[in-house]
């Protein structure tokens, strides 16, 4: 059997690693558009941006791929996947045949049509080269302007403050991460950044980037003019679905079923690019690190015949200053929030419930309870409010018994 994995990010690397780990000994090809072997992106907005680490954090050392007989093709993009011919066509026309293919092409930063976006000194952050360019620009800078205060914007703000830059963020909602966290929890993120001296402009939008030859100022819809030495755009990502062509269904990502399968037999999609029909949450496209690894592990099992649904509750973290935020589950709406700890003191676990069912848990400097919520969320548990509110109550005692246990 020939397996082709398209996409040289964490999900693709996890897939090839898991296939070999699970004993797959057929031909295995990994195609990556970047020139670096697969690496971890989380440090790019944090340790790497701050200059605390200087090397890419590779998922596997480059020599691993040869040792494991993985044909690693870097710096080349797959142009399209031809389902009927069962080949992936690369830039330049070369064709790689497959029995099973995994689309793990990831996502790219959204670039809304804001005038001046292409000025020198205006950046977005996705790949290693972006982080290098931002780091170089920040080295001689004193003022940074950020557009958008999602997780990337918030982490970049924290890193820039650490480097001593003045930071102003423009964010259309009333708090950071309002759509994800709601106004109360988002308010805790705002207070964290306020305490660290970040200037936050809420309820306003980027109108244009101005500068004679390079970025000088951001002008907002509300008429503010915010001067700076560099600007970073962090307004979310969009799935990189070009490969799908007309052969695979695309709807906010490559559409896959619960077991990560497209409608074309033997063709799967995972990671940021996949719009996955999650058994608990329904169709979702999420962009988490841990999920990329676990979907790689799961798709490897499914290529080898397991046909398991991917039902992980999904989990991620965000480090900002010395605060650690964790989140698990998925909720676009909730009708009840139970807190253990204190939002005001920014040490808490917040449980988001809809109709009594635990859908998502958000923690701030509260280490275990996000991960301990995962089996409860996956089981659509209805924990009692007073138990959730009690910091002394161990959520693990509510975990459903394991299958086979």
């Amino acid at each position: 059997m020939d397996v082709v994995v398209v996409g040289g990010g964490l999900a693709g690397a996890s897939t090839v690693g898991a296939l070999r780990e699970q004993g797959f000994d057929g031909r295995l090809t990994l195609i990556g558009g970047e020139t670096l072997p697969p690496y971890e992106r989380p440090p790019l907005s944090k340790e790497y941006l701050r200059g605390e680490v200087t090397e890419p954090h590779l998922v596997y050392p480059e020599s691993w791929y040869a040792e494991q007989e993985v044909d690693l093709r870097l710096g080349i993009r797959a142009r399209r996947l031809l389902a009927r011919d069962r080949v992936v066509e690369l830039e330049g026309g070369a064709r790689v045949p497959f029995d099973a293919a995994v689309v793990a092409t990831g996502s790219r930063p959204r670039r809304p049509p804001i005038p001046g976006l292409d000025l020198e000194g205006v950046f977005d952050l996705r790949i290693h080269g972006d982080a290098d360019r931002i780091r170089a620009a920040a080295a001689g800078a004193s003022r940074a302007v950020l557009v958008g205060m999602g997780f990337i914007g918030a982490e970049v703000a924290a890193s820039f403050r650490h480097l001593g830059l003045d930071v102003t963020v423009v964010e259309p909602f009333s708090v950071p991460l309002e759509r994800v966290l709601g106004p109360v929890l988002g308010g805790a993120i705002a207070s964290l950044h306020r305490d660290h001296g970040v200037e936050m402009v809420f309820g306003d939008l980027a109108e244009r980037f101005e500068g004679a030859s390079r970025f000088e100022a951001l002008v907002t819809r509300g008429g503010r003019r915010i001067e700076g030495d560099l600007a970073v755009l962090g307004v979310g990502v969009e799935p990189a679905t070009e490969l799908a062509g007309d052969e695979l269904a695309v709807e906010n990502g490559v559409v896959v079923d619960a077991a990560l399968r497209t409608a074309v037999p033997g063709v799967f999609a995972i990671g940021d690019v996949a719009r996955h029909d999650h058994p608990v949450f329904g169709p979702v496209r999420v962009e988490h690190f841990d999920k990329a690894i676990k979907q790689g592990e799961a798709v490897a099992r499914n290529i080898l015949g397991a046909e398991e649904p991917f039902a992980d509750a999904m989990w991620f973290w965000s480090d900002q200053y010395d605060a650690q935020i964790q989140m698990t589950g998925y909720a676009t709406e909730w009708d009840d929030t139970v807190v253990r700890g204190s939002i005001e003191e920014r040490r808490f676990a917040a449980f988001l419930l809809q109709g009594g069912v635990l859908r998502s848990t958000v923690t701030m400097d509260w280490k275990s309870d996000a991960r301990r919520s995962m089996p409860l969320i996956a089981a659509e548990a209805r924990p009692e409010r007073h138990l959730l509110a009690d910091p002394g109550f161990d959520l693990r005692t509510l975990h459903p018994p394991k299958e086979g246990a």
Binding site: E40, D290, I293, K294, E297, W317, S368, R371, R396
Partner: protein
């Protein structure tokens, strides 16, 4: 030379829990799996977080920071981002003490 070192009093690690102890220049985690003790290096090989702050699931410990998973019986990585296994150590509970055997190479 390897030698047995007392790290705690017997009974110090509750069932299903993990404690961490400093032994020489490293931190060693001791897990209590239904009464059996297992000792392993506390430092996750991914980004250095303390595994004793993670949770046990059977013989698997999950790193609280980024979700790396190790089998505490062998120290091997069974999932997630860690690039390498962690060392495991001999551990006994006797004469009212929990003792760990340090390695020859330390």
């Amino acid at each position: 030379m390897s030698e047995w070192v007392k790290v705690a009093d017997a009974g110090d690690v509750a069932e299903g829990e993990i404690n961490a102890y400093t032994v020489g220049n490293r931190t060693i985690a001791v897990a209590n799996l239904d009464g059996d003790l297992q000792a392993f290096d506390d430092t996750c090989t991914h980004q250095g977080c303390s595994l004793s702050e993670g949770d046990l699931d059977g013989t698997i410990v999950e790193c609280p920071c980024h979700g790396g998973r190790y089998d505490v019986m062998t120290g091997e990585v069974v999932g997630g981002p860690p690039p390498e296994s962690v060392d495991v150590f001999d551990v006994v509970e006797e004469d009212g003490e929990i003792r760990i055997r340090t390695r020859d190479d330390e």
